[in-house]
Amino acid sequence: MTAGAGTRRGRAGVRTARGVPPASGDGANLLELRGLRTHFFTRDGTVKAVDGVTFEIGNGETIGVVGESGCGKSITAMSIMRLIERPGQIVAGNVVMHGRDLLKLSDEQMRDVRGNQISMIFQEPMTSLNPVYTCGDQIAEAVQLHEGVSRRQAWSRAVEMLQQVGIPDAKRRAGEFPHQMSGGMRQRVMIAMALSTNPELLIADEPTTALDVTIQAQILELMKALRERNKMAIMLITHDLGVVAEMADQVVVMYAGKVVERSDVTTVFERPHHPYTEGLLRSIPRLGERRARLEVIRGVVPNPLNLPTGCLFKRRCPYRMPICDTAPPFQEVRPGQYSRCWLTPEHEPPTVGLSPAPEVAEEEAERLTVAPR
């Protein structure tokens, strides 16, 4: 344990980055992730898919979780739902909701959270619905399970939900099978199913990735409308920064199982700090700009079985310095903006110099590191 050493910047009630803080009961946050670690124990070695993820989701807030494929954003979501299967295992951390650590609930208690307090929709609407049951059946099933109502009531609730998500002729459509609907329709059905129990948090794992662009916009509009109506929080997982700009209040950028930047959406787009976030933003093609070729982040995501020491992004980073061989601090670069990088808030090399002794670098990282809020 390294907590307690040195002074820490930040507001009152700052928690240590690596220590496990007590669950807060201030009511402002709906869900708090604290040092979540989900590892996969494969024959070739341990894959640290999620390695110390800490962030919180406020009541009614939409948080966008961004990152490349394999950065651990989906695994974070599955960990919150406790749907990780062997060889994966949640090895450390807390997922606190209403003062309860979801990771410590019994399986039965957790089932009551799933689909009731936290609902989830997935990337693939084409395969996420069971082909042998009608859409109405699948929605009514969730309602009946969590609300303890009769089959008939659950069914009329299902029809009502289908109307709410904008499916025309909902009464008839409820009796149809998933294969009789288009991809966009199916995603609407998934949303209807997820929202049928009035969850406080909706986890949407790339809900629009598999849909074509016009349908994408419709689904996002629908999610926005329902968010206002149901006053629910959304954890929106995506690799599409356009979707984030459209929907999110807060943004979490993940890279190789860690949060590398976290702030509100405006700051991320206007003044990104982490070089990875900068790279992501630069790789969005802009209308009217003539460029010989699209900007890309050079290199590839590191092999999860063989991660570099120190900063995980250093091999692809344009600002790489010798000090990057020591794990960078997670520092508050501006109020509310956190970045896992050695660069100072002004994007200058760290004050300890470019290549200090490892012990000095570690101490400096420790000094700078601050847990969000």
Partner: protein, 326 residues
């Protein structure tokens, strides 16, 4: 649906024609002849010649085929399938008399198979790579690999010889037949005689089915909709029993139709080993004595079960999978 069945039945006609030609030619091309068993010193060559003429075996093969096939299709006539060369009985009557015994054997074996193989296969899939799974998979592979005649003899030896010896003659299964003398019509006695042949027939079927069920369930367990069901908060039993099983059973339904001819084939060997008086043992006898009318009738029946087993599978597909409409 009715139109589909009708169309498939019409489509089956050329298949039956093909089967009849091949079967007829093969049995006539095979060495040996129905009159061979009369070639003993007591029977004069002239008498044998008379038999050959009586059976019509001296006619050109095409003519023999035409005369056989034209009478064969007239199933409403008791003599349509000809008379057995062995005992002179009408073949149709012999088949009808013996069919219930085989249907009982096959039906019981199929029921036992379905009731055991599906849970066993599901269990192996749900507990993939566990000891339970390894034991099930090993037994299934061994059961699938062992030839049925060998398995039958082992089971006969164990149940009918070793077991009575161990228990001092108090407990053991009958060595042959389908009922005890003087107990005709006794249901318990019939069931008692079924135990060993059904075990022998079912072990192979269970092995195949359990392996198939396991892989089908494993595939379904990785589907997105199973994850959706879990994310809804459904208890594990409902996720597996409702969402996964129903989908995993769809391909298994095909097996139901396709396993019927397999069971019939297995019955031929099993019935012979257990001296069980059904169609299977009758078939083996008739082949041995080149009893052409019986061989032809039973082979055509076999072809019939293949074609209609397939049709049955396709119809059941439409019933269990809403994505398929006829």
């Amino acid at each position: 649906m009715a139109r589909y069945v009708f169309r498939r039945t019409i489509q089956a006609l050329p298949i039956f024609f093909g089967i009849s030609v091949i079967v007829f030619m093969v049995i006539h091309l095979a060495p040996g002849s129905p009159v061979d068993r009369f070639r003993v010193p007591r029977v004069s060559p002239a008498q044998i010649q008379r038999l050959i003429e009586l059976y019509g075996l001296d006619k050109p093969i095409l003519q023999q085929y035409v005369s056989w096939v034209t009478t064969f299709v007239q199933v409403w006539r008791p003599e349509a399938w000809g008379y057995s060369f062995l005992d002179g009985q009408p073949v149709l009557e012999k088949v009808v008399t013996r069919a219930p015994a085989t249907l009982r054997l096959m039906g019981t074996a199929l029921a036992v198979t379905v009731l055991l193989a599906i849970p066993v296969g599901v269990l192996a899939a749900v507990k993939q790579y566990s000891w339970t799974d390894k034991i099930i998979t090993t037994f299934a592979t061994v059961g699938y690999a062992i030839p049925s005649f060998l398995l039958g003899i082992y089971i006969l030896f164990f149940g009918g010889v070793v077991l009575p010896q161990w228990t001092g003659g108090r407990f053991g299964f009958p060595l042959f037949g389908m009922e005890s003398f003087g107990k005709q019509g006794d249901v318990l006695d019939l069931a008692w005689h079924l135990v060993l042949p059904v075990t022998s027939l079912a072990i192979q079927q269970i092995s195949g089915w359990a392996r198939f069920m396991r892989s089908s369930m494993l595939e379904v367990l990785h589907q997105d909709y199973v994850r959706t069901a879990k994310a809804k908060g459904l208890p594990r039993g409902r996720v597996l029993g409702k969402h996964a099983l129903r989908n995993a059973l769809i391909p298994v339904v095909t097996l139901l139709g396709l396993s019927i001819p397999g069971l019939l084939g297995g019955a031929a060997i099993t019935e012979t080993i257990f001296s069980y008086p059904g169609l299977g043992s009758m078939f083996v006898e008739s082949v041995g004595s080149r009893d052409y009318p019986v061989v032809l009738a039973l082979t055509m029946l076999g072809g019939f079960t293949v074609v209609f087993g397939n049709l049955l599978a396709d119809i059941l597909y439409g019933v269990v999978d809403p994505r398929i409409k006829y």
